[in-house]
Amino acid sequence: MTHHVLPGFRLSAGYTLTVLGSCVLLPLAALLWTAFELGPSGWWAQIGTRRVLAALRLSFGASLLAAIIDTLLGLLVAWVLVRYRFAFRRVCDALVDLPFALPTAVAGLALTALYASNGWIGSRLLPLGIEVAYTRLGVLLAMVFVGFPFVVRTLQPVLESLDTDLEEAAYTLGASPRQRFLKVILPLLLPTLLTGFALALARAVGEYGSVIFISGNRLFQTEIAPYLIVQKIESQYDYRGAAALSAVMLIASLLLLIAVGVLQRWARRWAVIR
C-alpha cells in the first residue's frame, strides 16, 4: 500500500467502487457470463438467424454510414463556427448540443413527424419518390442526428488551437486556399476527425429511442439490433437470445472505446506539431 498524503482515499475509492460495482461491474459480468455459458454453438444458434443477422447488418451498416456523414457535416460546421464570424454564430454553436440534450424518444417522435408522408419535409420528398419514414433511410437519418454533436465538439477545440504558422507558410509559398486545407489542415485534423467518427459510430450503433419511431421496425427491413434485444426480452421472454445479442453489441462498444482511447493518444502526439 502506497502512502497517501491527503485523507479520504478509502472513503472516496470505496464509494466509487460500490456504485461502479453494483451499477456497472456486476451487470457487465452477468452479461459476459451468460453469453459465455452459451458456448460458441449456442451463441451462434441465437445470433445466426435471418432476423438477427439482418438487424445486425442494418445496425452496423447504417451507423457506419451515419458516422461518415456526421464526420463530413461536423467538419463543415466546426470549421465555419471556429473560422468565421457571422450573425447568430453563438446561437448556432449552442444548437450543436441539441441532440445531446434532447431525450431520444422525443427526437424520434420529432423526426417521424417531420419526415412522415404528411410531414413538413416528408410531403415534399414524396413527389420526388424519396421515402424516409419507415425505411432504412429513416434509420440512417436518426443515427446522423444523434451522432452529429460528437464530431463538432471533438473538432472545435483542436481547430481553435491549430497553430497558424503552417498555414501562413503554405500561404507564402503560394498554396491556394484549397491546397492549404487539403494538404496542411486536413492531415493535422485526421486523428481528431477519426476520434469524432468513432464516438459518433459508438453512439449510433447502440441508439434505440430516436431510431425505433422513424424506422417502423419492419421485419428483415428496418429492425435494428437494440430493437430486437427489447423484443426478445418483452414479447418472447427469450433472455438467452437477448443476452447473446447484447454481448455482441457490448463487445462492439468495448472495441470502439479502446479505438477512441488509441486515437486520442495519437491526437495528443500530433498536438505537439500543432
Binding site: V24, A94, L98, Y208
Partner: protein, 286 residues
C-alpha cells in the same frame, strides 16, 4: 493569428471567389443546423399545439401524465445526487492519489457512455431480475428491483454515471493537490479541506456536470424502457409515457414530449450561460 487573419483578409480582398466560398460555407453550415436540428425541435411544438391550447393543457394534465412527471422527478431526485457524490468521490480518488488499477478505473467510469442503453437495461435484468444472479435472494427478502422504482434509478445511474466525474476529473487534475496539502499542513481535517478548499474551486464544473446529468436522467428512454415493464401510472417515466401515448393519441404524445423539449431548451440555455459566465472555472475545451 493576426498575421493569418491579415492574410485571409487579403485573400478576401483579392479574390471575390474566396468571399463567395466563405459565404457558401457559412450558408451550408447554417442549412445543416436548421435542417437537422432546428426543424425537428420546431416540429415537436407545432404538433403539440396543433389541436389548440385547451387540448394541450388537457393532455399534460392527464392523471397518467402527472404520475409520469412525478416519477421522472423522483428518479432524478435520487439518481442525480447519487451521481453527484459519485463524481466527487471518483474525482477525489482519481486526482489526489496514485494506486494500482487507476487507468482501469478511469476507463470503467467512461464505459457507460459507449454502452447501448438497451444493453445496459439487459445487464441489470441479468443481475436483479427474477432469474438474475441476485433474483432468488432478492425475492426471498421481498425486495423488488426490476419493474419497480429501484431499477429505474439503477438504469438512470448507469447511463448518467460519467457526467459529473468527467467534468471534475480533468479540472481537479489541472488544479493539482497543492492547495489541499497546504490546508492539511495548517491542520484542516479531511472534510474541512473538501468543503472549504476543493468544493469552492470546482463548484461551477460540478453544477455543469449536474445539469447535463439531470437532462439525461429525465430524458433517458432505452435503459429505463427495458427494466421498467412500463406499467401505466406506476413505472412510466415521462419518456415512456410519450412512447405509449404515441400509439394511441398522436397529438397528446407530442404535447407531453414538448415538456421534455422545453427541459432541453432550458438545459442548453443554462449550459451556455455557465460557459459564458464561468468558462474559466470549467474545464478548457467546452
Amino acid at each position: 493569428m493576426a498575421a493569418l487573419s491579415a492574410a485571409i483578409a487579403m485573400d478576401v480582398r483579392v479574390s471575390s471567389s474566396a468571399r463567395l466560398g466563405r459565404g457558401v460555407l457559412i450558408l451550408a453550415a447554417i442549412s445543416v443546423l436548421v435542417g437537422l436540428l432546428v426543424l425537428p425541435l420546431m416540429a415537436i411544438f407545432a404538433e403539440a399545439f396543433r389541436r389548440g391550447l385547451a387540448f394541450y393543457l388537457n393532455a399534460v394534465r392527464e392523471p397518467e401524465t402527472i404520475a409520469a412527471i412525478r416519477l421522472t422527478l423522483t428518479v432524478a431526485a435520487i439518481a442525480v445526487p447519487l451521481n453527484l457524490v459519485f463524481g466527487l468521490a471518483a474525482a477525489w480518488a482519481m486526482t489526489h492519489f496514485q494506486f494500482p488499477g487507476k487507468a482501469l478505473l478511469g476507463a470503467l467510469i467512461d464505459l457507460p457512455f459507449s454502452v447501448s442503453p438497451v444493453v445496459a437495461g439487459m445487464m441489470l435484468i441479468l443481475v436483479y431480475g427474477k432469474y438474475g444472479w441476485l433474483g432468488a435472494w432478492l425475492e426471498s427478502h421481498g425486495i423488488q428491483i426490476i419493474f419497480a422504482l429501484p431499477s429505474l434509478v439503477l438504469a438512470t445511474v448507469f447511463v448518467t454515471l460519467p457526467f459529473v466525474a468527467r467534468e471534475l476529473i480533468p479540472l481537479m487534475q489541472a488544479q493539482g493537490s497543492e492547495q489541499e496539502e497546504a490546508a492539511l499542513t495548517l491542520g484542516a481535517s479531511g472534510w474541512q479541506i473538501f468543503f472549504r478548499v476543493t468544493l469552492p474551486r470546482v463548484r461551477w464544473a460540478l453544477l455543469y456536470g449536474v445539469l447535463l446529468c439531470n437532462a439525461r436522467a429525465m430524458g433517458e428512454f432505452g435503459a429505463v424502457y427495458v427494466v421498467s415493464g412500463h406499467l401505466r401510472g406506476i413505472t412510466n417515466t415521462l419518456p415512456l409515457q410519450v412512447d405509449q401515448l404515441y400509439e394511441e393519441n398522436f397529438s397528446a404524445a407530442f404535447a407531453v414530449a414538448s415538456l421534455l423539449a422545453l427541459l432541453t431548451v432550458l438545459t442548453l440555455a443554462i449550459k451556455r450561460l455557465l460557459e459564458w459566465r464561468h468558462g474559466d472555472h470549467l474545464n478548457a475545451g467546452h
